[in-house]
């Protein structure tokens, strides 16, 4: 989920806690902001600290003036082969760098693991902007656009799609040796490990308590942290819940993706609705002047009117729009990728993408429904008993 979604979710869960909200209203207490800070903290740790302390076994830093896709593919295949020789549980980590050409111009390339043919495929694309808009006519000639290299072990790649590398900083990959002899591709291995564990959340909460002696501080740290992990579990990547006891991250529930343009606004909106509900509930204890509706109003009726109905309307409009309007292609500053590079990329991707879908270790439907039910139960418990805490 996006940072703002985690931030507001952290604040939302704390608005259920009576002492936090009463403190905010009566004493201008800022404890509630710990919800936002620690709701976002797992990603802050991962992308501002852990990304830099990750140790790489192989660093691939291509020269933009002389890109050699075959060499890149070769180094990746070599890393996979090396991982195949390691003890189970060990990993070879590879960092791939981007190729910056100008203030907002990068040389793009992508990599793909073709499991059927045991090949690493590297495609060099056109120059792209930070928002991945390609520049026409900058595609390399066909003999310099493609690099293929063979690897030996059986590869497990849960992603199953090419990874485009353009602007910002490049991704890292871990090749993890499994007990059955296969090698699993782990995308950005530093992410969602220690920084996304319940144990680290508990350690932060303990530190907060020891520093202040206030148990509410510990709650204001641990609960938003936990909700970050819960929200992330709804995605594909999952978390490593009990680090350092557990070593690897588990698969997510595959209910949504981190950048989903529907779920992110939906959660942010729903959180805002719940914050408003709780504001009214606790404001009423201070002064009726700060109260907008009767505190006895059913929360279910409120959520139905304020959240369900508007989002049903938005959903209906969206579906209507989708059914009536064909795919629109915005005319950005630079035209979309065209020619041989586009064709090659499309052909190579689609065939494999569908083939790989079946291999993804998606959790069972029951587990996925259970994920939502558990979250709902936690929120209901907060709503019912949080006022007295």
């Amino acid at each position: 989920m996006k940072g703002v979604t985690h931030f507001i979710m952290g604040i939302t869960v704390l608005t259920f806690i009576g002492s936090v909200m009463r403190g905010a209203v009566i004493e201008n207490s800022l404890i509630i902001l710990l919800g936002g800070i620690f709701g976002l903290m797992p990603d802050t740790l991962d992308f501002k600290f852990l990304v830099y302390v990750e140790k790489h076994d192989v660093v691939i830093d291509p020269d933009p003036s002389d890109v050699r896709p075959k060499e890149i593919a070769g180094k990746l295949a070599e890393a996979i082969d090396k991982a195949g020789t390691l003890k189970p549980g060990k990993m070879v980590k590879v960092q791939l760098h981007t190729m910056k050409l100008g203030p907002d111009l990068w040389q793009s390339y992508s990599l793909f693991f073709n499991k059927r043919r045991n090949e690493v495929i590297v495609n060099v694309g056109p120059h792209v902007t930070m928002s991945r808009v390609p520049s026409p006519g900058t595609e390399p000639p066909p003999d310099k656009a493609l690099g293929v290299a063979k690897y030996t072990p059986k590869l497990i790649d849960n992603y199953g799609k090419p990874t485009p590398i353009g602007g910002f900083s490049g991704p890292s990959f871990g090749f993890l040796k499994k007990k059955d002899g296969s090698v699993e591709v782990v995308f950005i291995p530093f992410h969602r490990r220690s920084g996304h564990s319940l144990t680290l959340g508990a350690i932060f909460a303990l530190i907060g308590y020891l520093l202040t002696g206030n148990p509410i501080i510990a709650v204001a740290i641990f609960i938003p942290w936990t909700f970050h992990i819960i929200l992330d579990t709804f995605g594909h990547m999952g978390n490593n819940l009990f680090w350092p006891i557990t070593k690897q991250r588990t698969a997510g529930l595959y209910l949504t993706s981190a950048n989903n343009p529907f779920w992110n606004p939906f959660i942010v909106y729903s959180c805002m609705a719940l914050i408003i509900w709780n504001m009214n509930r606790f404001n009423a204890e201070v002064s009726p002047l700060y109260m907008a509706f009767e505190p006895g109003t059913s929360v279910w009726l409120y959520l139905f009117l304020v959240v369900v109905i508007p989002w049903l309307i938005i959903g209906a409009i969206y579906l209507l729009y989708k059914s009536r309007v064909k795919e629109e292609k915005p005319e950005e500053v630079l035209a979309p990728m065209a020619g041989a590079a586009a064709q090659m990329a499309t052909e190579m991707v689609t065939e494999e993408r569908y083939e790989d879908v079946g291999e993804r270790p998606k959790p069972s439907l029951i587990a996925r429904i259970l994920g939502i039910v558990v979250t709902a139960i936690i929120l209901i418990v907060f709503a019912m008993y949080g006022g007295g805490w």
Partner: protein, 440 residues
Amino acid sequence: MEGLIYFVYALVGILMGSALSILPGLHIYSLAAISIILFVSFPSVDPLGMAMVFTGLLVAFAIVNAVTSTFMSTPDDSLRYSIFPNQKYLMAGRGYEASIIGGMGALGAMLILLLLAPFASLIFPVFRKLATPHMPWMLIGCVVYLLQTEWPKDWGSRAKTRFGRLKDGWASLSAGWLVFFLSMMMGFILLNMPVTSLEKSFQGAIMPAFSGFVAVPWVLTNAMSKFKVPQQNIKNTFYVSKKDMVRGTTTGFLGGMFSAYNPMISGGVGGLMASHATVTGGDIQFMVSGSAARFTYFVGGFFLIWVPFLHLIRKGLANIMVPIFSPKSEAEFWLFMAVLAISAVIAFLVLILVSRLMSKIIPRFSYRKVSFCVLAAIIALVLYFGGWAGLVIMVIATGIGLTQIMFRTRWANIMVGYFFPAMLSMAGLAAPILKILGIY
């Protein structure tokens, strides 16, 4: 027929606002100062008529001022959110298109405001009742969010050691925090100490600070970059998808209204937060939402004072208008809405004309010379409003603004930093810092 005179007043405001908007570096606070001069110069004018002049002035500024930001690259703080795609378009010979796409975003925001108007007196009083006791944590929360969500801009450190990589990554982050801190210190001083004469204290301190934070650093970097504006292509038709328009406008409106409602949160900050929440992407959505956020921030802030049963005074122009005219009836609200809608359409037409003119004129001039002329205009305005003290404030603020550009940190750090002391005051936390600084 009697009501028509108010549209004439608004038209006067639009014409004045359009002419002033083309002046590069003119900040909304300068516009507020001009509004005061207007009122003092014409005391016999009907107060409601003067309010309509203000409306036209504000709408024209919110829409037409985008021209200077696209063609002369002197964006005000609320435009920094969307300026990069505009500049890219200008470099691709599509400045006119960028300008019009932005204008369409503003018109879209106007449409949403019209749709919201019948329900405004139901919705906003509810927010006001509920949010008032929570304002300190809500505002400080926005600042915390902005500081926590700035990501490193090292583009993948090549350093061999972990410490080296950490240092590279944290270079821009620590510079961002430094910019926030310096801006905050400036805010503590300027918002709590009279550095210029009393009658000019509002314009004399804030306007030079904002010129230094935003306009001057950009003009200086433009002048140094030897950038030549390419020939501009004026197309009569161009394609913007419905999806980009709807998503961009909605996002911008939400962000702009959030900033308009909450004190000390600029349109850019609100727009940034809304774009995160709605996962906005791509240059067109960015430009549309940026303009919609800017329009809603300026106009929406003014709109709140007209809403029946709300009468919420937010942002500069509403504060200036209150001693002159205070809206009381529902009829006045609907008159305002009608004037607002027509003013937005007229301002959009002016934007088309001015953008065409700029597209033809700007490539013929040396960008460096234009930049120096802009710099001279800004200095003249600062000297007029703030005197020599204002100029010193501008120079110091320019240093902070240049640090932000050099380290590619988030510009919003400057904005929220400047107003952070006021937020701390709301939470009762400013006094100890003021004591340390010797101000309190």
